[in-house]
Amino acid sequence: MTGYVIQRFASAMLLLLTITAVAYGLIYSGGAEVSRSILGELATDEQVAAKNVELGLDQPLPIQYGNWLANAVRGDLGRSWFSAERVSDAIASRLGVTLSIVSVAILICTVISVALGAFAAVRRGWWDRAVQIVSVIGEALPNFWVGLLLVATFAISLRLFPATGFVPLNRSPLGWLSSITLPVTALVIGGVASAAAQVRGALIDVLSRDYIRTLRARGLPENRVILRHALRNAAPAAITVLSLQFIGMIGGAVMIEKVFALPGMGTLAIDATVRGDIPVIMGVLITMALIVVVVNLFVDLANAWINPKARLA
């Protein structure tokens, strides 16, 4: 198991390195004239040249990336080129928003999708088809559109929830709950659909196995067969799917944050990308990449722990 952990950790590091290098190259080619947009249209060429030197933009790409990496490894992500705010501060104040909605959404998603999936797998027939149809519809609806619909109904017409904004949990727990309800609902509607379908598939697969037949033959109550044995064996597939959902939701949250004007990572990433604010873009990117890597690592380890055969992978 230790060897496995080390191996996974090393590959995660390699992945991070690759992601940041590729991203730096891509952004670099896109935003050469960032100095002018920082200084404004009436800046002189000399001022622009001086700013390029100050930001290190006069250096070749590999050196720029090397400098960034050397600082990043030491935990210094630099400052925004536009607002001079520390990138680490900018991320710290926004990460909580994104994680708030995504983690609550994934929790709710887990409960609902396991319940729906299990229900469909066990009942089959008419119920099964209904769950599948609902799943397909849920998946087909773009989450920002669902978000807009929710706002129009519950924020503007009924005025039950705020249309926009985020209240930190430590400022007002009720306010926090109220502010994340609509965004979380929008995320869950899309997420539940595909997760429920996966749970259903995995469970049907397990239920058709010989040992389940044996358990039933030995007279175990059906509840026990499903809860203790079938669901447990379907768990690895469900965990994998939900972890993918989690990562997908972080991406989906970008649109949701826009619709609800939530000051999260997505908003930060979009604003920085539009301006060509490389330190912020890289900071957001490495944070997101870290989250993805950690979630994957966790899922791999969890699966390996549940199922020793996975350790060979």
């Binding site: 920082i38 607002s83 001079a84 706002v151 929830f161 826009k258």
Partner: protein, 504 residues
């Protein structure tokens, strides 16, 4: 915030609704004395050398005062400087300062403070350092009198001092790390740090020592960055915010929702026919060809189709409310393809010519331009350009003409941007002795003489078809019915002082 229960459900449901509405109220934190606005951009920095005009002006206008003030009619009056006067040749500006002003850290506002601020802005790398770029010397006459000595007369200098160029921060705080996030000014409000989260919400409370409190009726101000127009609209319609920047496309929806739609002309849209010598596109070197383009494109039609008529058809680069504006010139280039063809034939281009334009994918007018220019024989070839790089590409001298939208306001400032040979929007550095002479005279002039000369400048560039302007689009600002908004004549959003409770 008022909550109306427009539906009468069963008692339990109604109670639940009330409880949840209360939750909503808690989160919004809006009271009658608080002005809550959504701002299209997040604040950058509160450093007075970095603060910006445009949508971000609302952030600094809450905490900083400016030396001078622009009235809604565009006239300039005293503010922190009670009065101002130029010398004979407009190169020395004398400012008499108010004597009863303190910064919120207790430091006095005086001539030293003005000097420190002008030097800080001029020496910094902010977008608006050019606003004091002409100031060579700052002479302290006495504690409350200061002279700004200019390298040359600048007819836009007073305007600059009403905007980001006139923002005064506490001298002790200038250049410190803290002022980036915590402003120290002498303005009507102070940042309420405990209730502020960068990127999410900026809260302001009254500055108890402010000298001009009656000009600011609200006890507190909350500014919330909201990039998406949809989100701003939802926040307005649900009563979360009292005002937000809108656009032409959503104005009808806003009106239908009972919001006020406030407007003022700001951005002029059209083509910059930059290669006036024909260095790159020989045809553009002929004034008749440039005039033909003006006749070929239907500016009025574009105004209706794209801007939903929230604006004004014009052929000029200067603001409709500026002294340089000449109403008659708007009839100079009526939409007339036949006339365009005749002019092209006269210039020797009866069979038209190829014109390469950089294509900004965000400009909805592109297909219309293609069609209308094709109708008179000009074949447009579009070069695909990434929209973030559009400005660089347009200014690169790789295109003889290109689309551009620029904000308008003070005519001298607008001239500096696009008519002056060194202006960023005059990439081929076009200049003629005649125009140079006019500009030199206008620069030193003032009053009626300045007005007459700027109109001549305007007439010159319009007659010579330096541009093909279609229309001036209105800045659009939405507000709740209980808020009265006065538009700033030269900024895309009103300043904080332009908001007041509506009185019936």
């Amino acid at each position: 915030m008022t909550i109306t229960l427009s539906w009468a459900g069963r008692p339990t449901l109604r109670r639940a609704t009330l409880a949840l509405s209360f939750m909503g109220m808690l989160t919004a934190g809006v009271s009658a004395e608080t002005l809550t606005l959504a701002v299209a951009l997040d604040n950058g920095s509160f450093d007075p050398a970095i603060v910006e005009n445009g949508p971000r002006a609302q952030y600094w206008a809450a905490v900083y005062d400016t030396l001078l003030l622009m009235e809604p009619d565009g006239s300039i009056v005293g503010n922190l400087a009670e009065s101002y006067a130029y010398n004979e040749d407009n190169t020395v500006l004398t400012l008499k300062l108010r004597q009863d002003v303190k910064f919120t850290d207790g430091a006095p506002f005086n001539a030293e403070a003005v000097k420190a601020n002008v030097e800080h802005l001029r020496g910094g790398t902010g977008q608006n350092s050019f606003m004091v770029g002409a100031v060579t010397d700052i002479v302290i006459v006495d504690d409350f009198t200061v002279e700004l000595h200019l390298s040359a007369a600048n007819p836009a200098q007073l305007t600059y001092l009403t905007m980001a160029g006139g923002v005064m921060g506490s001298p002790a705080a200038l250049g410190t790390e803290e002022i980036i996030s915590v402003p120290v000014g002498s303005g009507p409000y102070m940042l309420d740090v405990a209730n502020t989260t960068k990127g999410a919400q900026y809260s302001f409370v009254r500055n108890p020592d402010y000298w001009n409190a009656e000009a600011f009726p609200y006890d507190a101000v909350v500014l919330i960055p909201m990039g998406e127009i949809t989100a701003r609209m939802n926040a307005l319609r649900s009563g979360q915010v009292d005002g937000a920047q809108g656009n032409a496309q959503t104005a009808a929806e806003a009106e239908a929702s009972g919001l006020s739609v406030n407007r003022t002309p700001i951005d002029r849209h059209g083509l910059i026919l930059a290669d006036r010598e024909g260095a790159l596109v020989p045809a553009l070197g002929d004034v008749r060809v440039r005039q033909a383009i003006n006749h070929a494109i239907d500016g009025e039609g574009l105004l209706a189709a794209i801007q939903r008529n929230l604006g004004h058809h014009t052929t000029q680069v200067f603001n409709l409310n500026s002294v340089a504006y000449v109403p008659e010139l708007d009839d100079r280039y009526p939409f007339d393809p036949e006339k365009a063809k005749a002019l092209l034939a006269e210039a020797g281009y009866a069979n038209g010519f190829d014109l390469t334009l950089p294509e900004n994918p965000t400009v909805p007018a592109n297909p219309i331009i293609t069609q209308q220019l094709a109708d008179v024989g000009i074949r447009v070839i579009w070069d695909k350009v990434v929209s973030e790089n559009y400005v660089t590409e347009a200014q690169s001298k790789r295109y003889g003409a290109f689309w551009m939208s620029l904000s308008t306001g003070n005519p001298w400032w607008d001239m500096t941007k696009q008519i002056s040979a060194s202006g960023p929007w005059n990439p081929f550095d076009s200049a003629t002795p005649e125009l140079d002479a006019l500009l030199a005279k206008a620069q030193a002039a003032s009053g009626d003489e300045y007005t007459a000369l700027m109109r001549e400048v305007n007439t010159y560039v319009t007659e010579n078809a330096w541009f093909d302007i279609w229309y001036q689009a209105d800045a659009v600002y939405f507000a709740a019915p209980d808020v009265k908004v006065t538009m700033h004549p030269q900024n895309v959003v009103p300043y904080i002082r332009h908001f007041a409770p509506a009185t019936e």
